[in-house]
């Protein structure tokens, strides 16, 4: 995937967090990582991409980042189900909003969410992914984009 496409995802994730006002999202310099060891935090929402582009987009966050997001949404239910739901919903929003740039042939799957390390491979083993580290309210997460050119 070409680096200029990263800006699309940077803009999307900034826009997502802007909806809550207050502290701005900080996105660190993206970097490439081999897919053999996916970078994940406590909860990870994964979206499969097919059609015009193929690959995976995922959002991984610490429990504390998701908790801050739930607070900002006025959501008092801090059950595990809601953390899983939120990780999936953020991933879905990132991938769905990318269609503004990639078009309707950028087919996105229903989110798949897992806790901690994945039990099975979620990324193409012989590829690399762009990692976009983010910080919000001092809590960390990542957007990971693995798209074939």
């Amino acid at each position: 995937m070409k680096e200029q496409k990263l800006q699309i995802f940077l803009n999307i994730i900034s826009n997502y967090f802007d909806q809550f006002g207050g502290e701005e999202l900080v996105a660190d310099t993206p970097y490439l990582l081999e897919n053999k060891q996916p970078k994940v935090h406590d909860y990870t929402g994964v979206i499969g991409i097919s059609g015009g582009q193929k690959g995976v987009v995922y959002f991984s966050a610490t429990h504390k980042l998701l908790s801050s997001l739930l607070d900002s949404m006025g959501e008092t239910d801090k059950s595990d189900d809601n953390y899983i739901d939120l990780a999936g919903e953020v991933a879905n929003t990132i991938a769905g909003n990318a269609r503004t740039e990639f078009g309707s042939e950028f087919h996105i799957s229903v989110p798949f969410v897992f806790k901690g390390a994945p039990k099975s491979i979620v990324l193409p083993n012989d590829e690399r992914s762009f990692i976009i580290p983010i910080t919000w309210h001092s809590q960390v997460g990542e957007i990971v984009v693995c798209l074939q050119d």
Binding site: N15, Y16, Q19, L70, M73, G74, E75, D77, D81, N82, D85, L86, G88, E89, N92, T93, I94, A95, G96, N97, R99, T100, F102, G103, S104, F106, I108, V110
Partner: protein
């Protein structure tokens, strides 16, 4: 008073919509987590206003819109989706949706969209 059904596979989104809508204008009669469940509940509760996600398991929102409109062309459906491309919006409207609100949305945007939906 309009009868409202919220359709989204995300509990968080359903809760956000529930907290936001004007209870003087809308009465929540049902929620659904998939297109299949939405059809079942539509037939039972007959809402006249629906918020509809598009990316859902079992049956997606576009197929669900088509089936609901075929049953009742007067239902007003507000699509609430992260799919932000123009083609999806056009397709939803061509299938009978009355409005499109893109995720992420503010509660003010949702309230305004729902209010516009029911203006004659």
């Amino acid at each position: 008073m309009h009868k409202l059904m919220i359709v989204d596979d995300s509990n968080i989104i359903r809760n956000r919509i529930q907290r936001a809508y004007d209870s003087g204008e809308f009465m929540l009669v049902a929620t659904a987590t998939s297109g299949v469940q939405a059809l079942e509940k539509f037939n039972i509760h007959r809402p006249d206003v629906i918020t509809m996600d598009l990316t859902m398991p079992q049956m997606d929102g576009l197929e669900c819109i088509e089936k609901i409109i075929a049953t009742d062309p007067d239902v007003r459906i507000l699509v609430v989706s992260a799919l932000s491309d123009k083609a999806t919006g056009i397709e939803a409207l061509s299938l009978g949706a009355s409005g499109f609100l893109c995720k992420p949305f503010s509660e003010e945007e949702l309230v305004e969209s729902l209010h516009e939906l029911v203006q004659d």
